[in-house]
């Protein structure tokens, strides 16, 4: 039953960057199930970030369609897509995820400022939930009020994971979040992240060029450069 419950449905997806002759993605079909932890592997330039942008509804496909949580993204107005994105999606980037002049806590709380839905789903106290997530991701609680810029890269990535997770969005999109970490920290980070995603009942789409991470995930697909 769970297997049929697709949270992302992509059919016949094509996308060409303006000014580029060759399509970046073409004829892509993909289902991601609720609760699944998917690893998308591909060389640099294969279109992984482009795919995440399309799933996040920042850009619309040239052809084909993307459903997220049963909603066809192409049919939403751009402001509804913005709303839908923040209510249901958390992002983690490769690096420089945080706003340097805000404190660690304020960075984690950002989604709750823009989405009442995310704030509501923290179960009352957003900042208590933020502290819980930071602790679960093994971050020293004393860092909560430090400016984000003063953290190490590994610490920053755990803060950005907490930010993606706060308010239990159904979908976590991670764009090479471990590329700036050394191999030992990579595994630790992914374990912590996946533990929290699972505890929240979320779905994870994790892209990386590093194939060695694949065994840590439920499923692995490869994106080939066109």
């Amino acid at each position: 039953m769970r297997v049929l419950d697709a949270i992302i449905r992509i059919r016949d997806l094509s996308f060409t960057w303006p000014g580029s002759r060759r399509p970046c993605l073409s004829q892509l079909a993909l289902d991601v199930n609720r609760g699944e932890r998917l690893f998308v592997h591909g060389e640099s330039g294969a279109g992984k970030s482009t795919l995440l942008n399309l799933i996040g509804g920042v850009m619309l496909p040239e052809r084909g369609y993307i459903d997220v949580l049963g909603r066809p993204l192409g049919k939403l107005s751009s402001s509804n897509r913005d709303r839908f994105r923040v209510d249901h999606t958390g992002f983690i980037f490769q690096q420089f995820n945080l706003i340097p002049y805000l404190s660690v806590l304020d960075n984690v709380l950002l989604p709750c400022r823009f989405s009442t839905e995310r704030a509501r789903r923290t179960g009352g106290s957003a900042s208590a939930e933020a502290r819980r997530l930071l602790a679960a991701l093994d971050l020293d609680p004393r860092l909560a009020h430090r400016p984000a810029a003063s953290l190490s890269v590994g610490q920053q990535q755990r803060v950005s994971a907490a930010r993606a997770l706060i308010g239990r969005p159904e979908l976590i999109l991670a764009d090479e979040p471990t590329s700036a970490l050394d191999p030992r920290r990579q595994a630790v980070f992914i374990e912590l992240l996946m533990g929290e995603v699972t505890a929240n009942g979320g779905t994870l789409v994790f892209v990386s060029h590093d194939q060695r991470l694949a065994p840590l995930f439920d499923r692995c697909i490869e994106l080939l450069a066109q």
Partner: protein
């Protein structure tokens, strides 16, 4: 808005150094604009009030504006004088209700000394046709008695009965005394203060009034601007001389019928005894205002231009900062900020910078006003405080703020476009 303002402030604070400069330039521009506006308003009010109730100002033929400046504002030196006899003839004219002779030329610690008659206190009006009032004391009646304006008494701390000495010539700055250490002071004949006037916000406030005879008396032993060596005439002996003045600088005239002003003016222009002219203060004021007005208008235009440059500079600084804020904006987009939020964020920054610039500028104007208003009041008879925060000034402030907000619409729009084109995944 509640979420965005702290974000906008934190972000701006993070770039405070580059932003401080644009705030500073806005502040200076605002200072200039507000100062120019206040000085203009003060000048206009002061002009309108200074010669209330005077129907004609008569003086030696020449420039009407100069006569006005001299007779009403006690500014400038008289190049010609008129004869005492001409005044007697004018005063006897049946159309003339009252006439006040004026003789200028001496000063006391930078304040002009006006020789006149006690009629002055009875007939002169200021503001809304109000008569002069005495804070204490009474008009001068005898020799070597002085009535000082409110500003003079206030600035120099004078009280009834104090003795003051007059200085020959209209030295407008106290520093001039250093250059003429001897000789120019009428030290031998001090004046006793018999009256202190209530404030009027007109040149009366900074004038020292004495009788014409007193002025004659202190110049008995003078010739060509210097005391005659070896000739001392003690005050008590002065009464032995004929103290009727020979010359005057101007005469203020009130008519029985205001409507006769033009006719009387023509008659005075045809006066046979010597070349005289009569001016209608309100018309001459207008002429003077035209003169000052064109300067004021170009200054005002220039000040607006400088405000424009300041705001454009701010927009440029914000635009330039967008490059380094690419990532910050993309992150905000990824956590749910829509293009509208981004525009609002940048406009909040622009609005805050403009507001801080405005407040700083107003602070500078107020500070400068606090420091220099007494000087401006003493030197130019302008009261800068009465027009502060007038309806027009508030409109001006609101206008600058709105312009600042509007100006930051451009970088705001750019930022929202940029963050969308960059996608959620920040790129270098």
């Amino acid at each position: 808005m509640k979420t965005l303002l702290p974000l906008a402030l934190a972000s701006a604070w993070n770039r405070r150094l580059s932003l401080a400069l644009s705030v500073f330039s806005i502040a200076l521009a605002v200072t200039l604009l507000i100062a120019v506006t206040r000085i203009r308003d003060a000048a206009q009010t002061s002009f309108a009030q200074a010669a209330a109730g005077v129907d004609l100002v008569v003086g030696p033929r020449g420039s009407p504006v100069q006569l006005l400046l001299h007779a009403v504002f006690h500014l400038g030196e008289a190049t010609h004088t008129m004869r005492w006899q001409s005044y007697r003839t004018l005063a006897a004219d049946p159309q003339v209700a009252w006439s006040i002779p004026l003789a200028l030329g001496d000063s006391h610690r930078g304040f002009p000394v006006l020789g006149t008659t006690p009629e002055y206190f009875r007939h002169l009006r200021y503001g809304q046709q109000e008569p002069l009032g005495f804070f204490s004391g009474q008009p001068f009646s005898g020799l070597f008695e002085a009535v000082v304006g409110a500003e003079v008494a206030d600035r120099l701390g004078y009280r009834l009965g104090d003795l003051i000495t007059l200085r020959h010539g209209s030295a407008h700055l106290d520093e001039l005394e250093d250059r003429h250490p001897h000789g120019a002071e009428h030290a031998d004949k001090p004046f006793r203060i018999t009256g202190i006037l209530l404030p009027t916000a007109t040149p009366v406030d900074r004038t020292i009034h004495v009788s014409l005879a007193s002025l004659e008396a202190i110049h008995l032993n003078w010739q060509g601007g210097l005391p005659l060596p070896g000739l001392d005439i003690p005050p008590q002996l002065a009464t032995k001389f004929d103290l009727t003045p020979k010359t005057l600088d101007a005469v203020l005239i009130g008519l029985h019928q205001r409507t006769d002003a033009f006719r009387t003016q023509r008659q005075i222009a045809d006066f046979t005894g010597e070349p005289l002219m009569a001016i209608l203060p309100s018309l001459a004021m207008d002429e003077l205002w035209q003169l000052v007005g064109s300067v004021e208008r170009s200054l005002h235009g220039l000040a607006w231009l400088i405000v424009g440059v300041g705001l454009a500079g701010m927009a440029a600084v914000i635009l330039a900062s967008l490059g380094e804020r690419r990532r910050e904006l993309a992150i905000l987009r990824s956590v749910g900020a829509g293009p509208g939020h981004i525009v609002a964020l940048v406009m909040l920054e622009g609005g805050t910078l403009t507001a801080v610039g405005l407040l700083t500028g107003l602070g500078l104007v107020e500070g400068a006003g606090y420091l220099f208003a007494p000087l401006v009041n003493a030197r130019l008879g302008l009261d800068l405080s009465t027009n502060a925060f007038s309806a027009e000034e508030l409109r001006l402030i609101a206008g600058i703020f709105a312009t600042g907000l509007l100006t930051s619409l451009l970088p705001g729009w750019r930022a929202s476009r940029m963050s969308l084109a960059d996608g959620l995944v920040p790129r270098l």
